[in-house]
């Protein structure tokens, strides 16, 4: 009886002092959340999928090791080509460690590359099923990355992964979508300076191929070309050459071909290579004629 009375007093005192601390704790909690120093609360779905042992460990502050173990488990599912389990594993992993880019990236890669290729090449399926499953897993990979972006809006690597996915010609490219993700990548504050120029070039290449954005692409390409010699890459130079033809830029405002290309032999080689990528929706205005012209000039005996 005495113990019970003491227990009641203890609980009341704790509750009383609890009133003093609750606002203070809430304030620290919000500060820690705002600075991404503690993990956000888990969704109910994740808690259900986690299993009892893992859930107990997570509650005890063991998210990181449990995520590592689940990552190994996901690898076993991948080896068994069990894509549904791979997907579930990465849902759990990213629920445990939503701020780890590596897990979002790897999980999405399994879905949009490994799983989609598996279905594309699975001869046991009908061609319709092959195509549908391929599309489905590419969409799943994209959705996975989009969830990662939703939870980490300033993560440039995740935006970039989406941009690469939708501009990849081995998948199902959607250049407008890819361009949006490249622009989102460039808008990220977390994007390091050393990556900015390279990503601007990628954005330019994608913009060049999007119908209706050629003028913006030309402006961007010129800025890049003027900014540094390191941007004078074969593809950028060829794109500028084509855009000048496509937009009918007056002769006086054009970058002369002698400034674009180091010499005629290199121009011939670079334009040939550019022409070989015509299936990737690059504009080809004036390329064929220029290749023919240079071919005659450089190898007169062969024609």
């Amino acid at each position: 009886m005495k113990t019970l009375a003491q227990l009641v007093v203890v609980i009341f005192v704790l509750a009383g002092f609890g009133l003093l601390k609750v606002d203070y704790e809430e304030q620290i909690h919000q500060e820690l959340l705002a600075e991404d120093l503690i993990q956000p609360p888990m969704k109910n779905l994740d808690k259900r999928e986690l299993g009892q042992v893992s859930a107990a460990a997570v509650l005890g502050g063991m998210r990181s090791p449990i995520a590592s173990i689940e990552n190994l488990r996901a690898f076993v599912h991948f080896e068994n080509l069990d894509w549904a389990k791979v997907e579930t594993s990465y849902q759990i992993i990213t629920a445990l460690q939503p701020q780890t880019t590596h897990y979002w990236d790897t999980g999405a890669w399994h879905l949009h590359t490994n799983a989609s290729v598996y279905y594309k090449e699975n001869k046991d399926l009908s061609p319709f099923k092959q195509s549908a499953m391929r599309r489905r897993y590419i969409d799943k990979g994209s959705a996975f990355l989009e969830e990662g972006v939703r939870q980490n809006p300033d993560n440039w690597q995740l935006h970039n992964a989406l941009a690469r996915l939708w501009s990849d010609y081995h998948k199902l490219p959607d250049l407008k979508r890819a361009l949006k993700h490249y622009e989102d990548t460039l808008a990220c504050k977390s994007l390091p300076d050393y990556k900015r120029t390279q990503l601007m070039r990628f954005t330019f290449y994608t913009m060049t191929r999007v119908k209706g954005r050629e003028k913006d692409a030309y402006t961007m390409g010129r800025e890049l070309f003027d900014a540094s010699d390191r941007n004078h890459t074969p593809n950028l130079v060829c794109c500028l050459f084509v855009l000048q033809n496509l937009l009918a830029v007056p002769e006086t405002e054009r970058i002369p071909e002698t400034a674009l290309f180091p010499d005629e032999k290199t121009q011939y080689a670079w334009l040939q290579n550019y022409f070989d990528h015509r299936s990737q929706d690059y504009p080809m205005d004036g390329v064929r004629a220029k290749i023919l012209e240079l071919g005659l000039k450089l190898n007169p005996g062969q024609n």
Partner: protein
């Protein structure tokens, strides 16, 4: 006169020293061998494709820190709960308790001395684990830096990219933030020890103390959710019963989620001194309240 007063730091330190020696004689430090093996194994373990991504070197180091902090958490909490739960029953069994309390030693001093002894044990255990982790982490960071610089040389990376990679990998090595994360583990374990002490003052068995302490440890990881429900759920979404229960949980139990900053520190995020001080204040608040309540239930206890 001061030595026989209600609160004597010298007397508390003597009891703390005795408690610490007593616990060390129980061979608790043998667990360090397990930790050392875990650390060695983890330092050479690389997950599937862990060297495939751009930031894979960092991920290897984050994994080492994740496993280490997980192990530190488990060991420190076990030490905190088990050793505190054993204190009073062991003193009763050895009859030391009668010898001490028959002298002019206030019970509050006795309890504080005991608690301080456990804090010392937890602190030294964590310090030793921290040293092991720091040595292995430093060694592994240097190794990965050498590997990365060799790749940079082979691929002729631009200077700014090499510098950024160097800084990124180095930031995942031994840092002050990592120490702050380990400090938070210490605080969590201290609070658990104080809780176990409070329970042991009215518990009749060691097992009961351990079980209830573990339950409170788990509830402490729900407190943030409970507080969130209580403070931020209103209207038709709110259930009166659940709201009352969540209010009770938020008031009575400590919020252990606030101390889960390890995941962030393991990823190299910086903890501001202000936030760290807030956590220290909360630790003092909790250990103080629990110690006073432990004295309240222990002050007239008959043996």
């Amino acid at each position: 006169m001061r030595r026989n007063g209600f609160f004597s730091p010298a007397r508390i330190l003597v009891i703390a020293g005795h408690t610490f020696t007593h616990l060390v004689r129980m061979k608790v430090f043998y667990f360090l061998a397990v930790f050392a093996i875990l650390m060695l194994a983890m330092s050479y373990f690389e997950g599937p494709w862990s060297r495939a991504a751009d930031d894979s070197a960092e991920q290897v180091l984050i994994d080492i820190k994740g496993w280490a902090s997980g192990a530190m958490l488990i060991f420190s909490i076990i030490i905190a709960i088990a050793s505190t739960a054993l204190l009073i029953p062991k003193d009763l069994e050895d009859r030391t308790l009668y010898t001490i309390l028959s002298k002019p030693v206030p019970r509050f001093d006795y309890l504080l001395g005991k608690l301080l002894g456990v804090f010392c044990l937890i602190g030294i255990s964590l310090l030793l684990m921290d040293v092991m982790l720091s040595v292995i982490l430093h060694y592994r960071t240097e190794q990965l830096l050498v590997e990365e610089m060799e790749i940079a040389k082979a691929l002729k990376w631009p200077k700014e990219y090499v510098e950024t990679r160097y800084a990124d990998i180095s930031s995942q090595g031994v840092t002050w933030s990592l120490q702050a994360g380990i400090g938070a583990l210490f605080m969590k374990a201290c609070i658990m020890a104080a809780i176990a002490l409070l329970i042991s003052t009215f518990s009749s068995s060691t097992l009961f103390t351990i079980v209830i302490s573990v339950v409170i440890f788990c509830i402490g990881h729900f407190t943030a959710d409970a507080r969130n429900y209580w403070l931020h759920t209103s209207g038709k979404d709110a259930s009166k019963h659940v709201k009352f229960l969540s209010q009770a949980a938020a008031l009575v139990f400590p919020d252990f989620q606030l101390f889960n900053i390890n995941d962030a520190t393991n990823k190299g995020k910086v903890i501001s001194p202000d936030l760290f001080v807030h956590l220290v204040k909360l630790t003092f608040f909790y250990t103080g309240i629990y110690s006073i309540l432990a004295w309240f239930t222990f002050r007239k206890k008959e043996f």
